[in-house]
């Protein structure tokens, strides 16, 4: 490492300043590989590494570490990546609270951060940064799309619920931003709650005509199973997180027919997506998830920028990232002024294909959606 460091220093100081020689890029990936949320991190990593492998690049080095879903561990790993591994780019964090712990400090130290998933509003508005890019979405997007879909589908009085934590509040705010009408009722559940009988009774008694829920991970699995058993038959709508490929099999029939919103689906018809879905199945023997798709796009974005500029030339590399000149598995993809995607968001339905459950696109929820915070961002 010392040697490479010296060599780079010599290079910039002497002759080869301007020439875009293939300069090595070192990426630090911090993601969740152990404990309860490991499935998401593993998919992120596998999607990212698939793109690296397909590109066959030997000038791209990736260091991967497990954050155990603990914010202080993520901070420590970021320090390690920056101070010891001397990475150029950080990526991989799944959870918003971990991203809030890592991103502001990392970009302050002059590192690029490409988000494969978490994109809290604080980093999209006044807290935006030239070195920070979200390749996934802005956190509110899928909830906004659900609101737009339910408005267009003619629902008048949905019952809306989310866990009592910042992402949960952003979710219901995002939903209401596009739904425009007044929900029948809104409740916040306990984070990590596993029993929803009380909430289901409230839903039944409320006279709502539909239900919007944001309950990621195990909470969503529990809710859907219990919803089915309760005999409630109001239409359910939610963001993609509770219907992702990684957990659909665990939800089972309870998810069949449920509409959910996502900016990606495995049946989006374009060459990049086909190469991704087929390649992922061949490489790992399972269907890819949303997180894998986001990891894959992130790696391809990075590679496209590497072809245009040296990572040490921050302004040029930033411009190369902003161009987003890569074949996204989502098809159309570009960045808004705050480095968050401008993209179409789809409505999907959970269907059975053979003996696996998966999602099928049934229409658009919002087209060319940026986000609500872009106006506050002053870069």
């Amino acid at each position: 490492m010392e040697f490479k460091h010296l060599m780079l220093a010599a290079c910039t100081a002497a002759l080869c300043g301007g020439a875009a020689l293939a300069e090595n890029v070192k990426v630090g990936m911090i993601t969740t590989l152990s404990g309860g949320g490991a499935g998401l991190g593993i998919d992120t990593r596998d999607g990212f590494m698939l793109a690296v492998k397909q590109a066959g690049r030997d000038d791209l080095e990736v260091v991967i570490e497990d954050d155990q879903r603990k914010p202080d561990m993520a901070v420590q790993l970021a320090d390690k990546m920056i101070q010891q591994e001397k990475v150029d780019v950080l990526t991989g964090i799944v959870w918003s609270n971990l991203a809030m712990a890592v991103v502001p400090a990392a970009v302050a130290q002059g590192k690029f951060y490409l988000s494969t998933n978490a994109a809290p509003s604080a980093l999209a508005g006044r807290g935006c940064n030239p070195l920070y890019f979200s390749v996934s979405y802005q956190n509110d997007n899928l909830h906004e799309a659900a609101g737009a879909y339910m408005r267009d589908a003619g629902y008048k009085a949905p019952f809306i619920l989310a866990p009592n934590y910042p992402a949960g509040k952003d979710s219901l705010t995002g939903f209401k931003r596009f739904f425009e009408g007044t929900p029948k009722d809104e409740i916040y559940t306990k984070l990590g709650q596993t029993d929803y009988s009380a909430e289901l009774a409230q839903i039944r008694a409320s006279g709502a005509d539909s239900v919007f829920f944001f309950l990621p991970g195990g909470m969503g699995i529990s809710f859907l199973k219990q919803y089915q058993a309760s005999g409630l038959d109001l239409p359910l709508v939610g963001p993609a997180f509770s219907f992702d490929q990684g957990i659909l099999q665990a939800v089972g029939d309870a998810a069949l027919g449920v509409k959910n919103t996502s900016q990606w689906s495995k049946d989006i018809d374009n060459a990049a997506n086909k190469a991704f879905v087929d390649g992922f199945q061949a490489e790992y023997g399972r269907l890819p998830s949303l997180y894998a798709a986001q990891g894959y796009d992130t790696a391809n974005l990075l590679i496209s920028a590497m072809d245009k500029a040296d990572v040490s030339d921050k302004a040029a590399f930033q411009a190369a990232l902003e161009a987003a000149d890569f074949p996204s598995v989502r098809g159309k993809f570009s960045f808004g002024a705050n480095h968050h995607p401008v993209q179409d968001i789809y409505v999907r339905e959970v269907v059975q294909e053979g003996d696996v459950l998966t999602n099928k696109i049934v229409g658009f929820a919002i087209k060319d959606r940026a986000d609500a915070y872009v106006g506050e961002c002053k870069m």
Partner: protein, 339 residues
Amino acid sequence: MRREAIFNTALWLGLLAYPVWAWLGDEPYQITLATRVAILALAGVGLNIALGLGGLVSLGHAMFFGIGGYAAGILASHAQSYTPLYDGAFTIEGTQNMLVIWLVAVVAAGLVALVTGALSLRTSGVYFIMITLAFGQMFYYFTISWPAYGGEDGLSIYVRNWFPGLNTLDPLTFFLICFSILSLALLLSWRIAGSAFGLALNAARQNEDRVRAVGIEPYRLRLVAFVISGAITGLAGALYADLNRFVSPTMFSWQLSGEIMVFVILGGVARLFGPVAGAALFILLEEVLGGVSDYWHIWLGVLLLIVVLFARGGLIGLIAGQGTGQATGQRKRAGGADD
């Protein structure tokens, strides 16, 4: 005893020398690791006063760690946004001065320890373990769902707080600050263990009735020990906030309470340097095993089991042998009454 003294000295010097060596070799991350060890050891020193001297098995010490952390986070965030903390009859401004932050952290954690301790110490044995756990969980859920200071997202301190006359942004300087505090806490802990108060506390742990017979109320002794213990752990929390430049509700999680306890046990309960040895070993394992396998928690668990089952004095017990007389020798059976 002599061997333990030699080991302690070596450990103290080693913890001091390592970051200096890393600084010479331009390895800032190693300094960060050493700082982490010093801070977690400080949290353990706090717990050790309750656990080792007082025999109070608290599974809620993350509560104090978190309060110290949030004291730092809240004061710093108000100072950074230039909004007063309280603006009524009088005005309280936020601050980024570490000395003020530490004072607030110690007082806040001490007060919470006074209240929760006064309630918890009415119980004993398993009930004490569980009620301290419950208090910790209360704070955990409260911080997650209370929106004012970031909820589950936590709170960022963008620039490390300052200490008069020092550049705290320099990793080695910050390490030396933490190390000095750790050393002072060790000194305090040593003085307490040897004082009349410490001896009475230790006696109360071994035989409550005998202490009561000479006219000392064990409840008060324990409460004082619990408050000192909580305050020191709170100070560690404030330093940890500055190390990470970030605080979050996970600082209150019961797993963290468990980990602080693990530091103490790995090193050796009631050994003065037990928490230091334990925290150093834990961080070392995390660094080494974490690189070897995704499933490294299995090996951590196995190692912990071995220590509990076969190496009862912890690391220091293995090296220095049994018989400091403080706790390890004659720990009571759990069979009959707990007290």
